[in-house]
């Protein structure tokens, strides 16, 4: 894969450190994600994957280092940060759909309030996106009336409604019943094949093999390996990765 030298990477993290009190959760993290690439982040529990994901739209502020999104350093809290976040889609483990709003209103809210799109246009776009993730027939229901898999697909549609440059996923299928995992992964796989830049924290090895351009392996707050899925799964370099794969694959 060749990337033009002048185009900035979609995500650039350099020398990023993050502490929770005395706990050093991100240690000198260096990471570049070029436009259009799908990066899967793997690692044992507590290794800092969620924290990494959340620093990219500054849901967690960092203690040192720099983070740039599409060539722009993350602004500090305020209007500018809100503008940047509008361009960075995020999907949470727990869906976090707005409980008091109907499905279609969930998808329309940010386009109307943040992008100032007209209600009719936002509704049209929302219905298209809901169609795409297969939930259009549930548009008037409330989140609590949908299954987990459906809620997560709505959450993806809600993020896509902002036309994000990049999508962050933090264990999007971990809270789902097993039979609902695939429907969400299918939506993500389609998104990946359409060229969306994605950073995906997941334990779904099938998705990593099939959809990822690159696998990052984290342990104890450090990026330990950075390779292609084939390389990573067939010939992991570090002992910690071997250990991790051993545990996962024997499941």
């Amino acid at each position: 894969m060749t990337s033009p030298a002048q185009a900035p990477p979609m995500i650039r993290m350099a020398g990023v450190d993050k502490f929770f009190g005395p706990l050093h959760v991100l240690k000198n993290v260096e990471l570049e994600v070029p436009k259009g690439q799908v990066v899967v982040v793997l690692g044992p529990s507590g290794s800092g994957k969620s924290t990494l994901c959340r620093t990219i739209n500054r849901l967690e502020p960092i203690d040192s280092g720099t983070i740039e999104v599409d060539g722009q350093p993350l602004p500090s809290e305020g209007k500018q940060l809100a503008r940047l976040r509008a361009d960075v889609g995020m999907v949470f483990q727990s869906f976090n759909l707005f409980a008091h709003k109907s499905i279609v209103d969930n998808v329309m809210l940010a386009p109307v309030k943040v992008r100032k799109t007209s209600t009719s246009e936002a509704r049209k776009k929302a219905m298209e996106l809901l169609e795409r993730v297969g939930i259009a027939n549930q548009a008037e229901k409330f989140p609590a009336q949908l299954s987990g898999g459906q809620q997560q697909r709505v959450a993806i549609a809600r993020a896509l409604a902002m036309n994000p440059k990049v999508m962050l996923f933090d264990e999007p299928t971990s809270a789902l019943d097993p039979e609902m995992v695939q429907e969400v992964l299918d939506v993500m796989t389609t998104l990946a094949s359409e060229g969306m830049t994605m950073l995906v924290v997941t334990h779904e090895m099938g998705f990593a093999r099939k959809a990822a351009d690159r696998v990052i392996f984290m342990a104890d707050g450090e990026v330990v390996e950075d390779s292609t899925p084939t390389e990573f799964f067939s010939a992991p370099k570090s002992n910690r990765a071997k250990d991790f794969l051993g545990k996962i694959l024997t499941h």
Partner: protein, 215 residues
Amino acid sequence: MSVLTNNIDLYLRAFGTTIQLFFFSAIGSLVLGTFLAMLRVSPVPVLRAAATTYVTLLRNTPLTLVFFFFLFAYPLLKILQLEPFPAAAVALTLYTSAFICEVVRSGINTVPVGQAEASRALGLTFSQMLSNVVLPQAVRSVVPPLVSTLIALLKNTTIAAGFSVAEAGSISYSLSEQGEDLLAGLAWVAVFFVVLVIPLTLLQRSLEKRWSVAR
């Protein structure tokens, strides 16, 4: 019964004033109380501290003292002279908003953090997040205590009688001047209050029912 029929004008006029006093102070304290609650959860420490001080001060001061201030001390400042009725409405609003603030804030605390995080991740500003996502859910979860606070406000309006506002609390003065049966007269005042509380209770029930689906 004769107390009521002989003085029906007095009752209607007085309760008309009570309803107006309640109406203005209810709107005022809902608005101010919600605004104070927003300040209390704001990321700016000065705003948080200011709102906390306000609530501590007003919530711990007897309502009569707040009235005293607005009707006797405040005029000495010679800023803007207030008639007894608006002064009473202001006193009730300032006092009740401290309670509304605490009710709304407790509602905000029931809203899962994920709701705020999802809003921020979508690019909503702090105030957009509060007004579109957090407050609507917060209010839904505190309908009963909110209505209780309003019922307390309705009854607190009777304190204004002591400060030359001719609302329901003043009925007893007029009745005793006319040598009417005070006990029966006051019983009727109580009946009127019970009747006034009914719509509030109905409002509470219908809101609870309407919002139960969405949670």
